[in-house]
């Protein structure tokens, strides 16, 4: 299994569209990047646990739970992505 490459999200500099002056702190892109990082970490953790079990060490249930965590985070990430694409397509369908 190959490790998933780290996700890099370019964060718009302040003043650009997307970060309103009232909403200080983490931007949406920021949050998305962090969430994807967490997904990636859980995938790597599951990967590590699985290989450790295959090599004879590790606990079966810990591997199963790490896999389950990775699965749930992945599904959440996919869900968010689907919603984003849906919203984008909705906008593109608008007649100007």
């Amino acid at each position: 299994m190959n490790a998933i490459q780290p996700v890099q999200v370019s964060i718009p500099s302040s003043g650009e569209a997307g970060s309103s002056p009232q909403l200080k702190g983490a931007s949406f892109a920021d949050e998305l990047g962090r969430a994807l990082g967490a997904v990636e970490r859980s995938q790597l953790d599951a990967d590590l646990q699985a290989s450790r079990t295959a090599l004879g060490g590790g606990n079966l249930h810990e591997t199963a739970i790490a896999l389950e965590e990775a699965d749930i985070s992945m599904r959440v990430a996919t869900k968010v992505r689907n919603k984003l694409v849906e919203a984008y397509q909705e906008v593109m369908r608008m007649s100007v």
Partner: protein, 146 residues
């Protein structure tokens, strides 16, 4: 993520029950061992389980007073030897017999160990059920956003 706290707590429970099963197996396997590394008969082992506080498991209810307790995982704090005396059997031909011809057997009662084994298995099942429940809750929550 807060959602995974219950998963991690159940994982500690599963690990602890596995230790119990391992010790029961060890006790059963050595029910007749009249000598160990120290030259003495085997003594049955028992785990001491300890609740360890688990931060962040309460989520939105985090600020509430839990009366000093609060959610906790479990860990094996110690493994202790049973101090009880083993059965003595008269068998002068045995290599481990003492001068008066008696052999001291381990203080293992196989029936007791089997009961421990069943109880550990049931507890393992219960923890696995908690994991299953959380899994279906997560799937259900994701279905909302379909």
């Amino acid at each position: 993520m807060d959602f995974f706290s219950a998963l991690r707590i159940s994982a500690t429970g599963l690990s602890a029950e596995r230790v119990r099963v391992n010790l029961a197996s060890s006790n059963l396997a050595n029910a007749e061992s009249t000598r160990g590394p120290n030259g003495l008969p085997y003594r049955r082992l028992d785990p001491v389980l300890e609740a360890t506080p688990f931060e962040g498991a309460l989520g939105a209810a985090g600020g509430l007073d839990t009366g000093g307790g609060g959610p906790a995982g479990v860990r094996v704090a110690r493994i202790v030897e049973d101090p009880g005396a083993g059965k003595r059997v008269f068998n002068p031909a045995h290599p481990d017999a003492s001068d008066d011809g008696y052999v001291t057997l381990p203080n293992v009662n196989p029936i007791h160990e089997i009961v421990n084994l069943i109880s550990a298995q049931k507890a393992y099942d219960a923890n696995a059920s908690a994991v299953d429940t959380l899994k279906s809750m997560a799937a259900r929550a994701l279905d909302i956003a379909r």
